[in-house]
Amino acid sequence: MDDFNPTIIAFVCNWCSYAGADKAGGQKLQYPSNVKLLRVMCSGRVDPQFVMRAFRDGADGVMVLGCHPGDCHYRNGNMKALRRFRLFERMLSQMGIEKGRFKLDWVSAGEAKRFQETATEMTDAVKKLGPLHLRGMVEREVA
Amino acid sequence: MIKKISIDPITRLEGHGKIDIYLDDKGSVDKAFFQVPELRGFETFVEGRPAEDMPQITSRICGVCPTAHHMASVKALDALYGVQPTPAARAVRETFYNLFMFEDHLLHFYFLGGPDFIVGPDAPKGSRNILGVIDKVGMEAGKKVIEIRKRCRDLMTHIGGKPIHPVLGLPGGVAKQMTEEMRATCKAFAADAVAFAQFTMTAFNDIVLANKTYLDIVLSDVYYLETNYMGMVDDKNRVNLYDGAVRVVDPKGKEILKFDPRDYASVIGEHVEPWTYVKFPFLRKIGWKGFVEGKESGIYRVAPIARLNTAEGMATPLAQAEYERLFSTIGTKPVHNTLAMHWARLVEVLYAAERLVELASCEELTSPDIRNMALQTPSEGVGIVEAPRGTLIHHYKTDGNGIITQANLIVATIGNSAAINMSIEKAAKKLISNGNVTDGLLNMVEMAFRAYDPCLSCATHSLPGTMPLEVRIKTGPDTIVKTIIRNSDGSELTF
């Protein structure tokens, strides 16, 4: 899979993880260009439907990065994200989507290095898994 | 040179079915096959589902007999969790089940199979339908069928949530308590149901049995098949549709097996053929010997006449009298005449109605104690009921958390799949010779399989009454020698 370049979508929250990514950029910390950022105000804003759509529309991996527990700008938005996505992950494995294609993690505004590491690790992991084959990708069987 | 007659598709069957008949050089039937071109894979996709969801998931195997699957499923859950339903739950379940059997059987008789009999195979095709039936039994009766069905379905809605794909079943119980008001409604309905069942039986006597031509058709060897028979019985060997042990008798009526649901897999084997999606159950004790009749064959039959053959009586008085009359009229027991299915069906209608009268008076019916919560750790369970179309078996294995790891389903109609194949072949062989495909062929072949009430009889008004059939006689794969098309208005084209 050397030539496989995965597409990773990362939903990053405005107050923490986006700021952390921004800081990484400011410090010229390289992270794979596979990772495309989508800024939201809070990780709690990320509807599971967005993540599903990302997978369906071409992403091989998806991340949701929010503030550390206790640090959420909106008090407990990140907790809502945690609860939702834990349920979501259980369902993903049932649908044949390998563990490692979805990740919920915490990155604070000051953690530029952590952002770099998280993005790099995710890209490497998904690269190893190969392109995502959704069940529904089966070719039409009749003319 | 092989000549092939295709009847494709046949209707009033779950999904689709097709019949192929092959003629030899002399124009006699060499072979005939009944193919089922459909499979949905329930046994596979229920893996990973919670066991408590099974009654509602498996009911989607069939939208005409969902209650049969629901009930077999919930009994498998009882066994899985090691519980018996409370007396109230059992009474509610049995009431619901007999309501269902009553309605389903009756509908088949008036709208589907009945017309063959009531109006007769010689009647103009345009009248071999519910309208023709009404003509014979009267408009009042026709309206009454619709009305009694409506009352039945309404009762089922109250007890089970929905008549199509009910929700009441839980391991050790049912979801909802029955009220005194409902009991009163049920009581009133049951009394009318008995009366209507008797009326139907009388109509059958007057129109069919009293008519020598029809009786001859019933008793003719065109529709005669000697097989073993299987059915559920109570501890006195009387027909029981909801619960009991399963009994098997040979073509002479001698008991060869009686087994508890949990032992079914050591009794029944299933044979696979590459040319059809349906499997062919057989008795392991004898083995699969091919599509042959007789006691040396492992093939058995299920559903109404099989149940009556297997039992030694009915558990309610009026049904018992009819049971005796059936066997004394035909003169033998077991009865091997396939068309007697229609008659046996009516005996069961009467039984279901009488059972409803009994249940409506059960004290425990309205008790609030509807759930036995002493559930054990689950691992495996088998549930069996007698569906309208035969013995229905649900077998589940789960992990300790009650998630299904393996399921095996022996669906009622497939108990007859080998027999249907043989019945069609026999009818074809006896009716076709010298390559003449007569008009009567179409009707007669239909009758051979329709008596079994194969899995899905969409019990609607058979508005034009005739099944659409296109019979093509071919010489070689592309040369059609003759085509007979029967249209919905009963007219036929031959070219």
């Binding site: - | 193919q35 990973g48 989607r60 499997k279 559930l375 019990a459």
Partner: protein, 324 residues
């Protein structure tokens, strides 16, 4: 005299419940039958492909098609009806979203055949024979239609004009739809012919929801005796009401069992996503272990949230670009 509109009914991979619901119209079916000319209904009437083939394109006013598409034969007839019909209505969940048969999409065709024909407590098949599209039996070539790898919903194969939800659609819904068709008062094309709001809005247990609902434990239906008057979710029992369309008059809830979602999602929503979002929001736990403990009461999220709609779900269905 004006011609009565021609109407056709057809079933694909169906259980027959949708046909049965038409019978449940009871005496009202006669009114319907009087107003239309039913020209095609394999389960009840004359059925010939050649009749349909001979009709002019668009001459059937409405075709009601139920069942999911699983075999080549079913797809062929669906396409034929589309050609000959003015309107095609996907009747019931199987046609709309794949229905319960679509749960097979969590498995493979190979697993289905293996379980049905090889690895079973009762199957005696040492040679591992499985049904084949082409086989020879007693010297005779035998054909079976192709069994697809995936269960498709109707609009994966043809353009569908309207959708009737339900497993099966309720009598009320069917009558409303038929009335609208005859009166020419159908809503915009591609509509689902049921209200576009959640079931909770009309459920009579809704008012028993506490102002602040939090779930400390999810209980499976067999582990608890449900109170017949209180909201299921408030009792910790998963009920699909919040993520399911209204319009059925909630017979399951009246039967004291929770909604399982058969009226499908509202417009634009993925039913599973909606349910995950809803339930996630009300779990009473703050860290992984606690959350997992609560979630152990939902052992089968895919089967619970997509019981009827896997073929329409974002992750369980075809990607748009492959649809052509």
């Amino acid at each position: 005299m004006a011609q009565k509109p021609k109407v056709a009914f057809y079933w694909c991979a169906s259980c027959g419940g949708c046909e049965e619901t038409i019978v449940d119209l009871e005496e009202k079916v006669l009114d319907v039958a009087a107003a239309v000319d039913i020209i095609f209904w394999p389960c009840a009437m004359d059925f010939k492909y050649s009749d349909i083939e001979a009709m002019a394109d668009g001459s059937i006013a409405v075709s009601f098609v139920n069942g999911a598409v699983r075999t080549s034969e079913q797809e062929h007839i669906a396409r034929l009806l589309r050609k000959k019909s003015g309107l095609v209505v996907a009747f019931g969940d199987c046609a709309w979203m794949g229905g319960i048969p679509a749960l097979t999409n969590l498995k493979s065709k190979k697993e289905v055949f293996n379980r049905s024909y090889c690895e079973s407590p009762t199957v005696v098949n040492p040679e591992k024979i499985v049904p084949l599209e082409n086989s020879v039996y007693q010297g005779v070539p035998m054909l079976l239609p192709k069994f697809y790898e995936t269960v498709y919903k109707l609009d994966d194969c043809i353009d569908v004009d309207y959708y009737l939800p339900g497993c099966p659609p309720t009598v009320k819904l069917v009558l409303n739809a038929v009335t609208a068709i005859l009166a020419g008062t159908l809503p915009r094309r591609k509509s689902v012919l049921a209200p576009d709001k959640a079931l909770c809005s009309s459920c009579d247990r809704n008012e028993t929801k506490p102002d602040s609902m939090v779930i400390k434990e999810f209980k499976r239906v067999h582990q608890v005796v449900a109170d017949p008057k209180t909201c299921f979710l408030a009792q910790g029992i998963v009920c699909m009401g919040p993520a399911t369309r209204d319009g059925c008059d909630y017979p399951c809830v009246k039967g004291n069992m929770p909604c399982t979602g058969c009226f499908g999602p509202v417009d634009g929503a993925d039913q599973g996503a909606r349910m995950i979002a809803a339930l996630g929001g009300i779990i009473d736990a703050e860290e992984e272990k606690g959350i997992d403990r609560v979630l152990s009461g939902i052992p089968d999220p895919a089967g619970t949230f997509y019981r009827y709609g896997l073929a329409a779900s974002l992750l369980g269905s075809k990607r748009k670009e492959k649809a052509q």
